[in-house]
Symmetry: C2
Subunit: 289 residues, 2 copies
DNA sequence: TTCTAGGGCTAGAAAATCTTGGGGTAATGT
DNA sequence: ACATTACCCCAAGATTTTCTAGCCCTAGAA
């Protein structure tokens, strides 16, 4: 007796992962987004899994997908399993590289808030390797390999600074602005994602003006242009504070609008290891900046 | 702002699986065996993972591998995660194909014990699809997609029959055998895996004879040959019982040796679903056979 | 109506994964 | 001492899996 491999294999792991994401989000497109692949890829993986299981896991409808009865039943177990896998992976990374910290932040925050602090942090915590990744949406720290997340959030574990918006520009340009209506005479810079900021700020004072100006895909670019005197930028307090202090930018109008969000810092639950705790301390206590 | 994919990805899932197996078994070869791939494949996967993590997970020594400190720390979490994944997968299969039962058994058992019962089972449980897979080692039911495992085991959840060994042959051939010494005059068939059976049986009566005869890689083949009168086979009671009852084989000697093992049936913990329970009932209660 | 969002499908491209074949080292057996 | 055996490493090439790119389709929204 010695028979070998025709052991029925389990389903491909990647198909399970695709299913987990799609089931949790109830959407192939969203899952594809999360997994950083195309929708087609997810659809195929799930088809593979359905073939393996011999039953449909989703009901396809023109406006999206719904979990089938079968899919709904196994979804929780899959989510749990991938949670566990995520925890294990995170643990692996922490144990393997204890002196490495990976920060996730909104691109604007990464460039305008985190970046200027890095030299100080490195000096204060030698031997700690700090990586920064910019991304639009906060990562799931329990699953993804980031130690710290800094985003604008309505509520967050740890608040670094309240967000408030108000126009800013170079002192030169400011002289030409005495009332909000004057904004129509100058370019009003804005960020592609934060285009509403202008409308928000204006409507807070009962105004509605047709402003115009270039749009940037990176807020930091817009800030750069504002520093160049290219126009008036809608500033986010925590991100332009340093330029205001330096006097390179000024706020031509007193009115500022609180967005209800705050620059928030989140880290994984549990007591952070020593170096990470120190880093968090430095970031939140502004003491040294 | 709109930055995309350079999101640091997690490690490849397959690498994690390879690590889990290798860490649990503390051997690349054993892991490769479990995963049905070559040792080299496992080594590569683990190297990939080590590169991702930035630390060695195993210490390579000429006689094998040992978990490194890092590896040892994350091993339990990985095992847990893959346990969870296994549970989820099993659940998926059960929910998706509730009327399908998959039996794992030793090849000899599959052919000589399970197979003859299948027609009866199918008749008793119409609508239930029964698959059988032969394998050398009992599967981990918590992880692999089998519902029932039937093997010879020292202790098992449910005992179907005690194992005992004794020579068997055709009635014709039996006439030429009056004492064990006569075995030297005839071919003594045996199975490649159970080669010791002869020695075991002989030594139980204080004998040690130089027997010879062909070796088969499948016990069922050896049985077939015994039925053809090609020689004397060391019979395992549960596997040859039906031929003894039919009179096609006889036991030329009275002496039989209990191996201490038993034909054991195992299923997943928890209450089996109705059809599976019925199947177990039919298999264990010999009533209908 | 036209647009947009969400999906399906397929072929070809890209990437991950596996096998093969050739080397080592230590423990074991002869 | 000298094979043998059991493990593991590495590199090259073959395979399989997975992904992307187009193109098509449907139902709601503009």
């Amino acid at each position: 007796m010695a028979v070998n491999p025709p052991r029925p294999k389990g389903p491909p792991l990647n198909a399970l992962r695709a299913f987990e994401a799609a089931a949790r989000l109830e959407s192939f497109t969203a899952a594809a987004d999360e997994l950083c692949v195309t929708q087609g890829a997810v659809a195929q993986q799930i088809k593979t899994l359905e073939a393996w299981a011999g039953a449909a896991l989703f009901e396809r409808k023109p406006q999206g997908v719904t979990l089938s009865a079968v899919g709904r039943q196994v979804c929780p177990a899959m989510v749990d399993a991938f949670d566990a896998l995520g925890r294990a992976t995170v643990a692996l990374q922490q144990v393997a590289s204890p002196h490495r910290v990976h920060i996730a932040a909104l691109p604007a925050i990464a460039q305008l808030w985190v970046s200027p602090r890095l030299p100080g942090l490195r000096a204060a915590l030698p031997g700690l390797e700090i990586s920064v990744t910019a991304m639009e949406h906060p990562p799931n720290l329990a699953r993804e390999p980031f130690d710290l997340a800094i985003f604008f959030e309505a509520e967050s574990a740890q608040t670094l600074a309240q967000d408030a918006i108000f126009p800013v520009c170079t002192p030169d340009l400011a002289r030409r602005l005495s009332s909000p209506e004057d904004l129509m005479q100058v370019p009003c810079l804005c960020d592609a994602v934060w285009e509403q900021d202008w409308a928000t700020w204006l409507s807070e004072q009962g105004l509605k003006l047709p402003l115009r100006g270039p749009v940037y895909s990176l807020y930091a670019l817009a800030v750069e242009e504002a520093l160049n005197g290219a126009g008036v930028l809608m500033g986010h307090a925590p991100l332009v504070r340093r330029y205001l202090e330096q006097g390179r930018l000024v706020a031509p109008f007193r009115h500022q609008v609180f967005t209800g969000k705050a620059l928030g810092l989140r880290h994984r639950g549990g007591r952070p290891r020593a170096e990470l705790a120190a880093l968090i301390g430095l970031l939140s206590g502004e003491s040294c900046f």
